[in-house]
C-alpha cells in the first residue's frame, strides 16, 4: 500500500491524563471514502484532530502522500493539503458567506497551478455558482444560513483549499433528513469528480457505509475492525455490537 493518500500508523493521542486514541492504524487509497465508525468516546473526533494537527500525537505517524505531517501545527497540515471540517462545521458566523469562502482559498500550496488573486476570486465565484443557496447570500453573514447550508458552506470552503485529503467530522449531525441526504450525495460526488481522499466520521453508520469504500470501527481508542464497506455492513454481529443497528 505505498500508494496510500493518507496513512496513519500506531497513532496515540489524548487530553491530560486521558488517552483517547491508543493505537490506531489505517490507510486510505487515493480517491476513496473511508468511514470511521464507533460509539461516543471511541476516539473518532480525536483521530481527525490528531491528523489535522489540532491535537499533538503522543506516538505514531501521520503521512499524506508520503509527506510526514506527524505533530505539525494545524496551519502547516492545512497548507500541505489536508482540509478538516470539524464537528459542528466551524463556519465563522460573523463573517459573510463569501468571506468564509475566501478564507478557504487563501492558503493554496504552490503545486504549479495559478495561485494569483484572480484565480482565487474565480474559485470563490465558481463555488458560489455550484452552491446557488450560498451564492444567493454571498454578502450576508453566515449566521443567516440554516444548519444544512452551513454544513455545505463548510464543505465548500474546505474544497476551496484544493485539498488532497478531506476530513469530515459528523457532517450530518443535527441536520434534517433531507439535508443529510444532500450532504451524503455531495460527499460521494466529490470522490467521483475530484479524486479526493475522504476520511468521514459518522454516527449514521448505515448511510455512511452506503457511500464509503472502506470502513474502520473504533472502540475505546483502538481499531476493532477494518474492512471494505460492504463487508462491514453485512457483518451483523459487528453491527450489533459496535454500531447499534
Amino acid at each position: 500500500m505505498s500508494s496510500a493518500a493518507l496513512s496513519v500508523g500506531s497513532l496515540a493521542a489524548g487530553y491530560g491524563g486521558v488517552l483517547a486514541l491508543k493505537d490506531v492504524s489505517l490507510t486510505a487509497a487515493p480517491a476513496t471514502i473511508t468511514v470511521v465508525l464507533g460509539a461516543n468516546g471511541a476516539g473518532k473526533t480525536t483521530l481527525l484532530r490528531t491528523v489535522s494537527g489540532l491535537v499533538r500525537p503522543r506516538a505514531g505517524r501521520v503521512l499524506v502522500d508520503d509527506t510526514d505531517l506527524t505533530g505539525r501545527p494545524p496551519e502547516d497540515v492545512a497548507r500541505a493539503g489536508v482540509a478538516h471540517v470539524p464537528e459542528g462545521h466551524g463556519v465563522i458566523a460573523e463573517l459573510t458567506v463569501e468571506e468564509n469562502l475566501r478564507l478557504g482559498a487563501m492558503s493554496w500550496r504552490r503545486d504549479g497551478r495559478n495561485t494569483g488573486r484572480a484565480a482565487r476570486a474565480a474559485a470563490v465565484a465558481a463555488a458560489c455558482d455550484r452552491f446557488p443557496n450560498l451564492g444567493r447570500r454571498r454578502h450576508k453573514p453566515a449566521a443567516v444560513l440554516s444548519g444544512g447550508e452551513r454544513q455545505l458552506l463548510a464543505i465548500a470552503r474546505a474544497l476551496l483549499a484544493r485539498p488532497r485529503v478531506l476530513l469530515l467530522d459528523e457532517p450530518s449531525l443535527g441536520l434534517a433528513p433531507r439535508a443529510v441526504r444532500q450532504v451524503m450525495e455531495l460527499i460521494s460526488q466529490l470522490r467521483a469528480e475530484s479524486g479526493l481522499t475522504i476520511l468521514l466520521v459518522e454516527q449514521n453508520a448505515r448511510g455512511a457505509l452506503a457511500i464509503a469504500d472502506q470502513g474502520v470501527v473504533l472502540s475505546l481508542g483502538t481499531v476493532v475492525a477494518t474492512a471494505d464497506a460492504g463487508t462491514l455492513a453485512a457483518d451483523v454481529a459487528l453491527r450489533h455490537h459496535y454500531l447499534g443497528y
Binding site: 491530560g16 486521558v18 488517552l19 468516546g41
Partner: protein
C-alpha cells in the same frame, strides 16, 4: 481549624523571636510584608477562589487607612477597636462595589475596579478639610512599655496577617469556599446546584475588602501617615501582581507574592545605590529590574511561585496518582475535574466536598451539552484561544 491555628501559633512565636533580633529597618520591612500579606490574601480569595479580578483593592486599603486616621483623630478608640472598625467600613464598601459589579466579568470588572482605584483617592483633594488634602493625616500610636515602636508595629501587623490567613484558610475550606469555587468554575452549574451566585460573588468582595481595609489600617499604623499618594493605582496593581505571582491557587502564594512585591524593589534599590549610580539611573534601574522579574517569574512559573514550588516538589517525590490508568471514555467533566485537582490540591478533600463537586460537575456537563447545541445554532465555538481549546475540549 486546629491545624491552621497551630501552624499560625508556631509562626507567631518565630516572628516574635525574629523581630527582636532584627534591626529597626528590618522590623519595618517585616511589617510592610505583613501589610501586603493581609491585603494580597484577601485578593487571592477574591480572584483565586471566586474568580473575580480586582484592580481596585488599593481603594479599600485607602478606606481602611483613612478610617483609622479619622477614628484615632476624632474618637481616640483603642487600637484593636479601630482596626476592626476600619476593616468593617471597608467591608461595607466592598459590599457596595460587589453588588454594583456583580454582573461584570473579566476585563469589564478589571476596568471598573481600576477606575475605582484611580477615582477614590481624588476625593481627598476635593475635601481637604476632612482628609487633609495632599498632606494627608497623621496617625499616632504608641507602643506599650519599653517595646520599641517599630517592633511593636511589626508584632501588630504580623499578628493581624496571621489571624487573616487562619480565618481565610478556614473560610475557603468551608461551604462558603466551596460555593466560591463552584461559581468560579461554572456559574450556571453552581446556580443549578443551589448556590446563590450573586451572594457568593458579593460575599467574596466583602471578605476581600475587609482584608484590604485591615491592611490599609495597618499601613497607616506602621507609616504614621495616610496620604493620597500612598493609595495610588500602583498599590492596587502591586496587590494583584503579588496575588498572581505568588500563585492564586493557595494562601501560601499570598506570602510569596508579598515577599516578592515588597522586597525585590527595595533590594534592587539597595544594589543600585551601593554601586553609586547617578540618581536618574539609580532610581530607575530597580523599576526596570522589577518589571523583568515580573515577566520572568510569570513565564517560568505559570501557576505562580507556589505552583512552581509544588511542581518541583512533585518532581522530587513523584505522586503515585499520576500513573494510574485512566479509562478512555472518561467524560468531559472528569477531565476538567482531573486537571482542576492538580491546581488546587491545598484543600483537604472531605466527602462533602466530593459530593458537592460531583453534583456541580454533573450539572456542568449537561449544560455544556446544551451549550454545544446552542453554539451550533449560532454557528461558532466559544472564543477561547486555540491552545486552550485543545486542553479543554476533548473528544466527546
Amino acid at each position: 481549624m486546629s491545624r491552621h491555628l497551630g501552624a499560625a501559633a508556631l509562626v507567631a512565636i518565630l516572628v516574635a523571636l525574629l523581630s527582636i533580633r532584627l534591626t529597626q529597618f528590618r522590623d519595618f520591612q517585616m511589617a510592610q510584608v505583613a501589610v501586603y500579606v493581609t491585603a494580597v490574601a484577601g485578593l487571592t480569595v477574591l480572584t483565586g477562589l471566586s474568580g473575580q479580578i480586582s484592580l481596585g483593592n488599593g481603594a479599600f486599603m485607602a478606606i481602611g487607612g483613612y478610617g483609622t486616621a479619622l477614628l484615632l483623630l476624632h474618637l481616640a478608640w483603642p487600637l484593636a477597636a479601630v482596626l476592626a472598625a476600619s476593616a468593617a467600613i471597608a467591608a461595607l464598601a466592598g459590599a457596595l462595589v460587589g453588588a454594583a459589579t456583580a454582573r461584570l466579568h473579566g476585563p469589564y470588572l478589571a476596568g471598573a475596579t481600576l477606575l475605582l482605584a484611580v477615582a477614590l483617592p481624588s476625593l481627598t483633594y476635593k475635601y481637604p478639610g476632612v482628609f487633609g488634602g495632599e498632606q494627608g493625616l497623621n496617625v499616632t500610636v504608641s507602643a506599650p512599655g519599653s517595646v520599641p515602636l517599630t517592633r511593636w508595629q511589626a508584632w501588630i501587623t504580623c499578628g493581624c496577617a496571621l489571624l487573616t490567613l487562619v480565618l481565610l484558610a478556614n473560610l475557603s475550606a468551608s461551604r462558603i469556599g466551596r460555593n466560591w469555587r463552584a461559581v468560579r468554575d461554572d456559574e450556571v452549574a453552581a446556580a443549578l446546584a443551589g448556590v446563590n451566585v450573586a451572594w457568593a460573588r458579593i460575599l467574596a468582595f466583602v471578605v476581600s475588602a475587609a482584608c484590604a481595609g485591615l491592611a490599609g489600617s495597618l499601613l497607616a499604623v506602621t507609616t504614621g501617615l495616610v496620604a493620597p499618594t500612598d493609595f495610588t493605582v500602583t498599590l492596587s496593581v502591586a496587590l494583584l501582581t503579588g496575588a498572581v505571582i505568588g500563585g492564586l491557587g493557595s494562601l501560601a502564594g499570598a506570602v510569596w507574592g508579598s515577599l516578592l512585591v515588597v522586597l525585590v524593589p527595595t533590594y534592587a534599590t539597595d544594589v543600585a545605590t551601593s554601586h553609586g549610580l547617578s540618581s536618574a539611573v539609580g532610581s530607575n534601574i530597580p523599576v526596570a529590574a522589577y518589571g523583568v522579574v515580573l515577566i520572568v517569574v510569570m513565564l517560568v512559573f505559570p501557576n505562580g511561585i507556589q505552583g512552581g514550588l509544588r511542581r518541583l516538589a512533585a518532581r522530587v517525590v513523584p505522586s503515585p496518582r499520576r500513573d494510574e490508568p485512566v479509562p478512555a471514555e472518561m467524560n468531559n467533566t472528569a477531565v476538567r475535574n482531573a486537571s482542576r485537582e492538580a491546581s488546587h490540591e491545598e484543600i483537604p478533600k472531605t466527602p462533602a466536598r466530593r459530593r458537592a463537586r460531583g453534583r456541580i460537575g454533573g450539572g456542568g456537563r449537561r449544560l455544556r451539552l446544551l451549550e454545544h447545541e446552542r453554539q451550533q445554532q449560532l454557528g461558532r465555538a466559544d472564543g477561547l484561544g486555540a491552545g486552550d481549546h485543545q486542553q479543554r475540549d476533548p473528544d466527546r
